[in-house]
């Protein structure tokens, strides 16, 4: 490709990027920034996954994954989170169409399914702690509680964020600012589902074997 002076003064003019359209829109920039945050969150989780993978057989005489993991519960959790993610997608469509009632309905189902996931996880943790298999039992359980608990904390934050966003939709309506925040929320919620895919595969399915 030969570079003419015109190309130098107007880089990307013949590309399909933002050359002719000018700078990227606010919506694209905000999504991009939030995407960078999500990737940094994935890096955080990668550290936790690495420590879990290293410590997963260090049970110190305590129970291993095969003894404590209940795959039917994990399947239910997975179904809740996936359905919640799908409803969040439907909510995004309602937001883009500017339909308030459909948005509230989508958000409500998203919230209930997310809360159901969280309840299942908390009951699993509570059962383990009650049996004396808390995070202090072995290195394996420390890593397990840290990894799965961090994901659970993210889900909790997401639920709080969802409530805040619905309050903003109710008070401010579908202003561009609110719509951008809702898009960021949707990205966050879908990203949590990606992390959960890694967790149920690495921790539960491989760990229970």
């Amino acid at each position: 490709m030969t570079e003419t002076t015109a190309d130098l003064f107007d880089p990307g003019a013949d590309e399909t990027g933002g050359g002719q359209a000018g700078p990227a829109s606010r919506a694209i920039i905000v999504s991009y920034g939030f995407w960078i945050f999500l990737l940094s969150d994935f890096v955080l989780f990668s550290g936790l996954f690495a420590s879990y993978a290293v410590l997963s057989h260090r049970t110190a005489g305590g129970p291993g994954g095969r003894q404590i993991f209940d795959l039917s519960r994990v399947f239910l959790e997975t179904a809740c989170l996936l359905a919640s993610s799908f409803c969040c997608g439907l909510m995004s469509l309602a937001v883009e169409a500017g339909r308030a009632r459909a948005t509230y309905a989508g958000a409500a189902v998203t919230f209930v399914l997310g809360a159901a996931f969280l309840a299942l996880e908390i009951s699993e943790f509570a059962g383990l702690v009650a049996r004396g298999d808390g995070p202090s039992r072995s290195a394996f359980l420390s890593a397990f509680f840290t990894l799965v608990g961090t994901h659970g904390l993210h889900v909790t934050c997401g639920l709080v964020w969802l409530v805040v966003m619905m309050a903003q939709v109710a008070s401010l309506g579908f202003r561009p600012k609110v719509v951008r925040r809702l898009r960021c929320f949707a990205l966050f919620w879908h990203a949590l589902d990606i992390v959960w895919v890694a967790i149920f595969t690495v921790v539960y399915l491989i760990g229970a074997r």
Binding site: F75, G98, V197
Partner: protein, 125 residues
């Protein structure tokens, strides 16, 4: 990442079409994700697969499902608005694989070179 950004500005028919296209995309994503999830849980419990190969099968299914989520739910695509997102994703994947593979490699190496615990205790005495 926001294919419906212009839905407000577009005429009503265009908005309807965008809505339907979005719905179809989410439904395809859900269908694929459900199929891959079911396949994962099936593969974990079956005797049909050679058992040392099961973790590899699970890893492949998980990576496929993450790809499905990225494309159909997070709307990472090859559209020009997405170039930066994809570059950032590639960098993120690089860092994540370095952290995970590097940690496993280093710790396995240390583990293999470490004295058995009882000998270590004897030496410290």
């Amino acid at each position: 990442m926001d294919e419906h950004a212009n839905a407000h500005a577009a005429p009503r028919e265009g908005a309807q079409r965008a809505l339907r296209a979005g719905l179809v995309s989410y439904l395809i994503g859900l269908g694929l994700a459900v199929a891959l999830t079911l396949a994962s849980f099936w593969a974990a419990g079956t005797n049909l697969i050679w058992s040392p190969g099961v973790p590899i099968a699970l890893a492949v299914l998980a990576i496929a499902q993450m790809g499905v989520h990225l494309v159909f739910f997070l709307h990472i695509s090859s559209s020009p608005d997405n170039t930066n997102n994809i570059l950032a994703l590639a960098f993120g994947i690089l860092i994540v694989s370095l952290v995970v593979a590097g940690s496993l490699w280093i710790m396995a190496n240390l583990d293999a070179n470490m004295l058995p615990m009882d000998q270590l205790m004897r030496m410290q005495r």
